[in-house]
Symmetry: C2
Subunit: 225 residues, 2 copies
């Protein structure tokens, strides 16, 4: 029986969730400073769990604790973007190759296939948010299939760091129709147990994304997102 009881989540844990949400939706703006006491007030708890949450988020590279100046929500520069996409390119491509090596059953590949369908649907409906969401799920699912827990964690961290920036560029970029083709290629390579192809296609996909994004940031002079 699947446990229907979900434990009520500690204050510190919910502070992590809340702060992440506030950062991603811009309520805590990039580059802005916030006192611990202020955040505690906002979240309706004492400084102690907020401090713990802040420590956790600092370890994940989302903010920086600057004693007496408050915690700073870390902005993402074009240089940061390049760094992050370089890491994503390497680790996700390895994950793609690993996924192809692992003899996954069709059923195991179903969630990945679904994200591609979802992206088609979103693209047809011209719903960019839904597209971005499905795209995100594709990458998450891909590294999950790769089976390396460290890669899963690191890719999650890096994806979080660029989440805001991606949201900003979502409506500036050209219609992301190429992505689906790339994703299909990766899925096919995994189905065919072809690690080299999976790696190659995914790498090209990520390099393309990196170039598109950094070109966009440069063009619009977006120095800090």
């Amino acid at each position: 029986m699947p446990d229907p009881v979900e434990k009520p989540l500690s204050n510190a844990a919910s502070a992590v969730d809340s702060l992440r949400a506030l950062i991603f939706d811009g309520s805590l703006a990039a580059g802005s400073d916030h006192l611990e006491s202020e955040l505690a007030l906002r979240l309706g708890m004492s400084r102690t769990p907020v401090r713990e949450a802040v420590l956790t988020l600092a370890a994940q590279g989302l903010l920086d604790v600057r004693p007496r100046k408050g915690v700073r929500i870390l902005p993402v520069s074009p240089a940061d973007m390049r760094e992050i996409y370089d890491v994503l390119t390497e680790l996700e491509s390895l994950a793609a190759a690993d996924a192809a090596r692992r003899n996954h059953s069709p059923a195991a590949l179903q969630p990945l296939a679904q994200t591609i369908l979802d992206m088609d649907t979103a693209l047809t409906a011209k719903n960019r948010e839904a597209w971005a969401d499905a795209d995100d799920r594709f990458h998450t699912e891909l590294v999950r299939l790769g089976g390396n827990s460290r890669i899963i964690m690191i890719v999650g961290m890096m994806a979080d760091q660029v989440r805001r920036a991606r949201a900003v560029t979502l409506y500036m970029r050209p219609v992301p129709s190429q992505s689906n083709a790339d994703h299909r290629g990766v899925l096919e390579a995994i189905r065919n147990r072809d690690p080299k192809a999976a790696e190659r296609i995914h790498r090209a996909h990520r390099i393309g994304a990196k170039e598109m994004l950094t070109e966009l940031l440069d063009r619009y002079r977006l120095q800090n997102l």
Copy 2:
């Protein structure tokens, strides 16, 4: 004038340092559990800064907080070792290529060259600890030259996670004479501004290390280090 005054380091920060040292030298054994209050007593401070330190180390994958059971020092299994070396292989190889692209001056490459000399010296003196130390510095310096701050952080984290395991295998493994040749090759490629070669040589180096280590762990049935 270089500031000669070093600020006295907070209790939380020194707790991180102390705990790391205790974990690396085995005083806090892999797989063992420890109460916060116990650690606080040991470090001569209250639970608060210890809790913060523990949170930080948990984020770095060195231990796991298990409510009411104490913090568990995470052991490293052969599977963990493979995961970690796969990540190191990808990211360090990229760093090697980046380092070769960056037009580093000979002076900038000096610290890297020095680690190779130190390894020679240690090898001649049959001093394995000194060799391991220099080897570590080579890899640290290499990723530093690559210039990607995320890679620097991640590689540091991964290296920490396998530190104990490496120490254990240090005296089991064959004399590491091949390593120096590989390191020299990487340095030469960087000097020659040959990213492809740097990447290729370093990748082979890391893959070799991974195979040697995992074979060793399997042979001696070392399930948890």
